[in-house]
Every structure is written in C-alpha cells, then in structure tokens.
Amino acid sequence: MGRPGPSAYHRLNPLTKLVVALTTTAAAVILGGVFWPLMIVFVFVLVPAVAARVLAQLLRFMLIFSLPIAISALLINVFFYPGGQTVLFGLGPVTATAEGLSFAIEILCRIAAISGAVTLFYLTTKPSELVLDLERRGVPPRLAFVTNASVQTVPAMAERAQQIIAAQRARGLDTEGSAWKRVKGILPIVGPVMLGSISEVEERSMTLEARAFTRPGRRDLLWSPRDTTLERLARYLLLLGLVGVIGAKAAGLV
C-alpha cells in the first residue's frame, strides 16, 4: 500500500532514494578529480531529475546552495594555493595560479555532486515516508518519533517566530533600521520562542503518556511505502559499486 507520487522516481521506496544519495555522494568524494564527480552528477542526479520532472527546481536549489561555497572555494584556492607555480594573472598583491584553479575546479565538481545528490533526495522524498519505511525495517519507534517530530517542529517554530516578528512590527518594532536597533528588537522574540517551546515540554510529554507512548514493544504501522525486489537489487548493486570504488581507489586504479 503506497501513496501516489507525481512520478515513477517519486514512487520509489524512500530507502532506495536514500541509498542513491549516500552512495553517489561517497563515491564522488572518494573518486575526486573532475571527470568522475561530473559523470556521477549526470547519471545519478540529472537523469533521474529529468525522469522525476524536478530538473528546474533541482538546478535552482543547487545553484543557490552551491554559490557561497563555490565563491569561497574559487577565491581561496585560485589566489592562495600554496605551491602554485604557473601564474595566470596578478590582481594587486595576490596572484592567481593554474594549480589553484584546477584544484578549485575539482572542489567545485565534488560540491556539485554532493549538492545534486542531496537535492534530488529531498525533492523527491517525503520525510514522514522515509521514517515509516525505516520503522518498518526495525528502527526503534522512539527514534522514529523524534525524527518525525523534528521535521514538523522546524517549520512550526520558525513560523511562530515569524508571527511574533510580524506582531512586533505592527507594534512599531524597527526591523529595518540600524544594526543596534535591530539587535535590540530581536531579543524579545527569541527569548519567548525558546523558553516557550521548552515550557511546553511538560504538557507535551503528558499528552504522549496519555496516549500510551511508553508502552514497550513493537507497534503496527498504518501503512508503509512499498518495496520491490528490483529496488532491493538496485540498492545492493549500488552498495557493491561503492565498495568497488573504494577498492579501486585504494589500489590506485582510478
């Protein structure tokens, strides 16, 4: 019994998608260089993204999240690469080196692989489905609870903070003025949100206990994502591939 997803890739078992993300990330980091990470991005990120019809979103997110680190990596490595000999150009007191540039490009490729794999995963997987699947496979219910609750609490808490900010704005809190003014205004927000959340712990834990949360032992699940033999095979192949990559790298083949 599974829930419909917009595409076949979406409907894959969450564990499969997670294994794809983790193995490709690890492989890209281990293999290094330029060619392999880019190959991995093409085969394991872009192609599935097209199949899942999330390519535009994927590229957009990848760009947004890679940009700061990419700029840093370029700046630091192009200009400050120790032992760089081949000078490309000079810029005032600093010089750009070719070795630095090539190293920077290697880093960028690796970043692209990591970013792509991760983005593909969260764009196509609902967290609660992943947790349900893991729970079916034997993850303790209490760990599953904490994970699910965390995923829900993050946006909820942020929303509550936003509401307080909006309320403060309506009361004339200056959120656009000088740094000091802004800073003065924040404290009345963060304090209540943090302390308020903590003060709810008592009631929330009573609520859970009133719903038999402390009962030890297994729990049945309302539903769980379906898994197919084909996917199981694919997961093993991916893991095998990763082992192979590690071996090849250690043996100096790649």
Partner: protein, 370 residues
C-alpha cells in the same frame, strides 16, 4: 529490572572495560589505516600526512565504536540496554525535536545571513546533553546534522552539514559529561578567592583566544566588514534569518558581558566553568571537524568562517593547517557562547521542571536541591 544496584554496577564496569578496549583497538586501526591511505585530494606541495591531521577524527570514530561495544555487551548480558535507554524518558524525547529545531534554525540563520566566524548550531545539542545525558546529547547532535543535511527542505536546508555529524555527536557527548559532573550547576555567592581564581582562568582563556582571532583578521587585507551580505538573509523572503544573524553578533558581545556580570554581581562561579567547558568542547570540535572540512570540501563551507581559512592560507598554511587554525578560533568562541546561552536557559527553567529530567539533579544548585 530488579537486579540489585551492586550487581548492576559490577556488570557495568565490565561493559565499560569492554568499551574501552574496543576504543583502543579502533584507534590503533584508524591511525594505521589513515597513515597509509591515499586521500583523494592530493596537492603535491605542503600537504601534511593525512593520518597525523586526522587523529581527532579517528578518536571520535573510535569513541563511537567503544560506545557501541559497551551497548552490545550490556544487551547480550541483560537483553536490554537500560543504562542507555533510561536516559531517554518521555520528557527527553519531547525535548529533542525542540532542541533539533533550535540547532537547525539558528545554525541556518547564522550560516546564511551573517559572515562572522561562529556557528551557533549546537545550542539544542548541549541543552539535551546537559539535561538528559551524553547519549541523548550525542543523538541530538547526530540527528540534527542528518536532518539538516538530507531531509529538511529549504529554507532550512544545508547541503554540506551532513559530513560533520560526528562532530555534533561528540559535542553532545561532552555536554552530557560536563552536565553529569555538575559543571553547569549554579554556584552563587562564592567567596572572593574562588571567584578570583575562576575569573583569572576564564579571562585568560578568552583574552588568549580573542588575540588569536584578532591576528587572524588583521592578516586579511582590508576587509573586516561584519555586516551581512545584502539580500542573503532574505532567501525565500524569510527576514527571520537576517534578524537571527544579528542576534549572533549580540550574543558574542552579550556573552562576554554576561559572564562578567555573573561573576561580579551574582558571584556565580559557574561562569568560569562555562568558559572552560566551552573552550574544551570547542578545541575538540575543531580538531575533529578540521580533517573532515579539509578532505571533503578543501576547507571551505561558504560560511563566514571561510575568511579565517583565507587568512591562514594567505600566510602560507596548507589546507589542513588552515582549517584547523580556523576551527581553533571559531569553535571555542562559538561553544563558550553556546554553553553560556544554555546556562541562561537552564537558569530560566524552574527547578521542578529541570529535576524531572534524567540529569536534572546535576543542574540544580546545592541549596535548591536540599
């Protein structure tokens, strides 16, 4: 579970011993393996032997192995791991998601909106560690990173933070240990000599680190600009980030002032403990995260800490040394601020509320619990 306490602690020493042996073996294996393992990035010049720089990482992994073996031994003997699971009562399980949310929201805000070299992504981890114990603290840290890096969608998402999960776990572990040792217990109204000694140690540590940080910044040509990148804090129209980023600035300054106030006005010796705990945790965290940052990302993460890495690289240091240098400046500052904030939160909680947590008794002043 009716085993007598004596019986239980006798067994527990056995498990601890087993865990320690596993830790030692894992450390040796790790050091030997890394010493000969050829890392993927391999700039020819000036790159130290990866093994030497990855000691801390090896230790951290070995610690995890030790804990797993400990748990395994307890499980095999008693069919359950109650010394660990007792730290996970309902209250703790309810606190953890809240703590994880603190970590992710604050950490994301500081990382995206403000280009200053602190993280502020461990307040929740250390809070849980102090209140509930080392293992819940470690799990909180671990889960925070995993969820932040792989599961939570934008705008609270960070593609690269997952690699540092083990650092977060160790931070939680340390916080739990400090909590259990009573370091975060309020100690108001202490005598002058005690306070003077505590203040001397704390101030000495802070001044020393601040000086190093100043050196780092002075080495950067020109830019010591701390203002946030315009528009960066408004990703997806969330002005929350910019504001929280400024909060980070406030916190650093506020921490210094607050610690002084604690020492002078309330004559609370715990201020010194907070500083020492923060520095120790910071140094260990830096030591573990440096090899990860260096080997996986070449030392950059896109956050404000990159300025420091830049400074060290400019001075001629290789990637490993630069990331370690950056960490040794950012992490202690970050952790002192974090421990201080956690101490404030704990102070604001009623004694009754704290006492119900597994390690709550260790966080309550001696007078209050009498």
């Amino acid at each position: 579970m009716t085993a007598t306490t004596g019986q239980l602690s006798g067994n527990r020493w056995l498990w601890v011993f087993g865990g320690l042996i596993a830790f030692a073996i894992a450390t040796v294996i790790g050091v030997v393996a890394l010493g000969t393992f050829d890392t993927p990035i391999d700039p020819d010049v000036g790159y130290s032997i990866p093994g030497a720089n990855s000691f801390a990482l090896v230790f951290a992994i070995a610690a995890i192995v030790g804990i797993v073996v400990y748990a395994l031994m307890e499980y095999l003997q008693t069919r359950r791991i109650s010394s660990i699971t007792s730290q996970f009562d309902t209250r703790t399980l309810v606190l953890m998601p809240i703590a994880i949310a603190f970590n992710i929201i604050l950490g994301q805000a500081v990382g995206t909106a403000l280009k200053i070299p602190i993280y502020l992504d461990s307040i929740g981890t250390i809070l849980v560690g102090a209140l509930a114990g080392p293992i819940p603290g470690a799990i909180t840290g671990l889960l925070s990173n995993m969820l932040w890096g792989y599961v939570v969608p934008p705008p609270f998402h960070n593609d690269y933070i997952g690699a540092f999960a083990i650092v977060a776990a160790v931070i939680g572990l340390l916080a739990g240990i400090f909590g259990r040792m009573g370091w975060l217990r309020p100690r108001p109204n202490r005598g002058l000599t005690e306070l003077a000694v505590g203040a001397a140690i704390a101030v000495g540590l802070i001044v020393g680190l601040a000086y190093l940080a100043f050196l780092g910044y002075a080495a950067i040509l020109g830019s010591t600009d701390l203002t946030p990148v315009p528009g960066q804090g408004d990703v997806f129209g969330v002005p929350l980030f910019t504001l929280l980023g400024y909060l980070a600035l406030l916190l650093v300054g506020g921490t210094a002032v607050g610690l002084v106030l604690l020492l002078v006005v309330r004559r609370d010796l715990t201020a010194a403990y907070v500083v020492v705990a923060g520095v120790i945790t910071g140094i260990i965290a830096a030591a573990i995260s440096a090899p990860i940052s260096a080997n996986v990302f070449g030392g950059v993460t896109g956050a404000g800490t990159d300025f420091l890495v830049l400074a060290f690289r400019q001075a001629g240091a290789d990637i490993s040394a630069a990331t370690l240098g950056q960490g040794l400046i950012s992490d202690p500052i970050d952790k002192v601020v974090t421990f201080f904030v956690v101490y404030l939160i704990l102070s604001a909680m009623a004694v009754r509320t704290k006492a119900r947590f597994p390690q709550g008794e260790d966080l309550v002043s001696a007078e209050a619990s009498a």
